[in-house]
């Protein structure tokens, strides 16, 4: 090995001084390595980008996650509950109104966050600021960009649901030791609703206020008519179907099973799980299809 006069010590001093990294030229690894890593980990690389962007509005994410449940639980669970509980507890399966409404609010909040994460940012990626086209010029493929966005959003739903659940627990509204599973349920419900929405958002080429319509005519009715504030079977048959197709209802019912052990036919419980997973999977396949269609392979 030849001695480098700039980096090694004076002759005869024994060992050469270690070469510092600053003195070594910077080298990127070869393109073949980039491609192999991107093929394997590309979705994670894109998820990292989405999380870095989210970090910029991290405080609003945290405040939203904590503030919303506190406000809702206080209004519904304490204010409204004082009236409801005084009149009839039997309608709500023998639990307090707060216990009844808490899992519904947990799931609804996750679904509402999903309606935000899977609508405007998708339009932003394809049309407004075209942020999806940056990584598309790198070794990433459209499916990875889609799944990276989904992974980061899923993490957000999960964290938000855990925080929500912690607040619910502080209100004493999640008596079952299985209550924590409802945070996972809320996350799956968010994907069940969010992924088909994301596929729709990826198909929009002209912004004509579609997302405002989605909020008003899909998200709000699902929130109100999914057995959120009162059991679905108290509604007339004419509108009960809204609950059956609603990820909010399936998620809420499942949440109730886990937070306070609601007595439910096991077949119906399985139906909730299957419905949520099936709609999320179908949504994911549609998302992949739309991203590839929009951006090429």
């Amino acid at each position: 090995m030849t001695r480098d006069p700039l980096t090694s010590g004076p002759p005869g001093d024994g060992a050469a001084k270690p070469i510092t990294t600053a003195e070594q030229p910077l080298r990127a690894h070869p393109p073949a390595v980039s491609a192999a890593r991107a093929r394997r980990w590309g979705s994670f690389f894109y998820a990292e980008q989405v999380l870095r962007v989210m970090r910029n509005y991290g405080w609003s994410v945290v405040l939203y996650s904590v503030g919303q449940p506190v406000a809702y639980l206080f209004a519904m669970g304490v204010g409204l509950a004082s009236l409801v509980d005084a009149n009839s507890e039997s309608v709500f399966g023998g639990v307090s109104y707060l216990e009844f409404v808490a899992p519904a609010l947990l799931v609804s909040a996750a679904v509402m966050t999903a309606s935000g994460e899977f609508s405007y940012p998708i339009m932003d990626g394809f049309k407004w600021r075209r942020v999806f086209y940056g990584p598309h010029a790198s070794p990433l493929v459209p499916q990875q960009i889609a799944s990276g966005h989904i992974m980061a959003s899923t993490l957000r739903f999960l964290l938000q649901s855990v925080v929500y659940l912690a607040v619910v627990a502080m209100f004493g509204a999640s008596p079952s030791p299985w209550g924590w599973v409802s945070a996972v349920v809320a996350t799956v419900a968010a994907l069940s609703f969010g992924l088909p929405l994301m596929a729709y958002a990826a198909s929009i080429t002209q912004d004509k206020g579609q997302f405002a319509l989605v909020q008003r005519f899909i998200v709000m009715p699902l929130f109100l008519f999914s057995g959120t504030f009162f059991p679905l079977d108290t509604l007339p048959w004419a509108v009960r179907w809204i609950g059956w197709i609603s990820p909010v209802w399936h998620g809420t019912e499942l949440g109730r099973v886990f937070t306070y052990g609601m007595d439910e036919n096991p077949l119906l419980t399985i139906t909730h799980v299957v419905y949520l997973l099936a709609t999320a999977t179908a949504g994911w396949l549609l998302v992949r299809h739309q991203f590839v269609k929009r951006m090429g392979s």
């Binding site: 990294t21 600053a22 030229p25 910077l26 080298r27 990127a28 690894h29 070869p30 393109p31 073949a32 390595v33 980039s34 491609a35 192999a36 890593r37 991107a38 093929r39 980990w41 590309g42 690389f45 894109y46 990292e48 980008q49 870095r52 962007v53 910029n56 600021r129 075209r130 942020v131 999806f132 086209y133 940056g134 990584p135 598309h136 010029a137 790198s138 070794p139 990433l140 493929v141 951006m295 090429g296 392979s297």
Partner: protein, 353 residues
């Protein structure tokens, strides 16, 4: 790399040799994949082809955006696609990057088909798109780091590399600013810096200076010229003739998806235009009428709505002939022929409408 760059910046007359030795360093260091090795062995004598297109065609329904074009780009060359908006330049660039499927023909980038090996091809490339698509919510420096992550590059490389590129793009003092706060020229330079994060040997630049003011364009040209000196192959689309003349070793003139001519800027001008051009303005009403009276002066005459162009070896002599015929133009200008004239000759239209 930084040291080598500085060395070659001090010795601008060794561009070709510089590019060769840099490539050798690069390949020795990386020990890159088989196609790159064969690429390197023949380089010293004859630069290998890094991009090869044959009968490349792209149709969108009835519209043929790219119509049966073929070209080769050797390593280290600065290759331009010159043409008006809608000529099919950007579509060609997208096909090279493997983000748009071709309708027919073959395309080879570093020995790979971008359609079947999109990630492998794009790992070789740096891409500067026509529209900036930076992460506006991230800071300037973070934009570079995040982009490098898409190539699986470790943070230990990306952190110092980002600083190096910010210096190159003259954005060091903006490192912690939000992208929103940058001017158009700064955003463009950041996009170029971002495209260099993986040390690509091929850089695709789609209309790199469109929309920039003259000063910002010159700064950008200077940065691109440095990359060219460093041996990076530049593929550039532009509808600015001066940009093509400044940056391109060789270019194809494209119109309506077809190649109209191919060659170096100087050879195209020599082949398709005269040495000088005399531009005369007689007022918008009179230009076409006076055209008839100018017949016979120079080698060729082109009458445009706003001016008359006389193509001549000696523009001053042509102007004297105009005066001798008793014609008094409102303004007259003698200039060297440019690629604009080549385009006008080939298509009958101006480059910029």
């Amino acid at each position: 790399m930084r040291g080598l760059l500085q060395k070659y910046l001090q010795e601008p007359f060794h561009i070709f040799v510089g590019a060769t030795s840099l490539l050798r360093v690069h390949n020795e260091a990386t020990g890159s994949a088989t196609h790159s090795e064969s690429w390197q062995t023949s380089f010293d004598m004859n630069p290998p082809t890094v991009i090869s297109a044959r009968n490349l065609t792209k149709t969108y329904g009835e519209l043929t955006a790219v119509d049966n074009i073929s070209f080769d780009v050797p390593a280290g060359e600065s290759f331009g696609l010159l043409g008006p908006n809608g000529a099919g330049k950007s579509t060609t660039m997208k096909m090279i990057g493997g983000v748009s499927q071709r309708t027919s023909g073959t395309l080879n980038i570093m020995g790979l088909d971008p359609e079947s090996h999109g990630p492998e091809v794009r790992a070789h490339l740096g891409v500067v798109p026509q529209q900036d698509n930076l992460d506006e919510e991230l800071k300037v420096r973070e934009n570079l780091i995040v982009y490098g992550r898409y190539f699986g590059l470790p943070l230990s490389y990306l952190r110092p590399k980002a600083d190096e590129l910010l210096e190159f793009a003259q954005l060091t003092d903006k490192a912690n600013s939000k992208v929103d706060a940058l001017s158009g020229g700064m955003k463009r330079r950041l996009t170029i810096a971002r495209s260099l994060i993986n040390e690509p040997r091929i850089l695709l630049l789609d209309e790199p200076t469109t929309g920039l003011d003259p000063q910002a364009r010159h700064i950008l040209w200077d940065r691109l010229f440095r990359l060219k000196e460093n041996g990076v192959t530049l593929i550039l689309t532009t509808h600015y003739m001066d940009e093509a003349e400044q940056l391109c070793d060789r270019l194809i003139v494209v119109d309506k998806g077809k190649i109209m001519a191919e060659g170096s800027p100087a050879s195209l001008i020599r082949e398709h235009s005269s040495r000088e051009v005399l531009e005369l303005r007689f007022g918008s009403e009179r230009n076409s009428l006076i055209g008839v009276e100018l017949q016979g002066i120079g080698e060729r005459l082109e009458t445009l709505p706003d001016r008359v162009l006389i193509y001549a070896h000696d523009g001053e002599a042509a102007l004297e002939q105009v005066s001798a015929r008793g014609l008094r133009p409102m303004t007259s200008l003698v200039r060297r022929s440019s690629l604009e004239d080549v385009f006008l000759r080939l298509t009958g239209r101006s480059l910029v409408d």
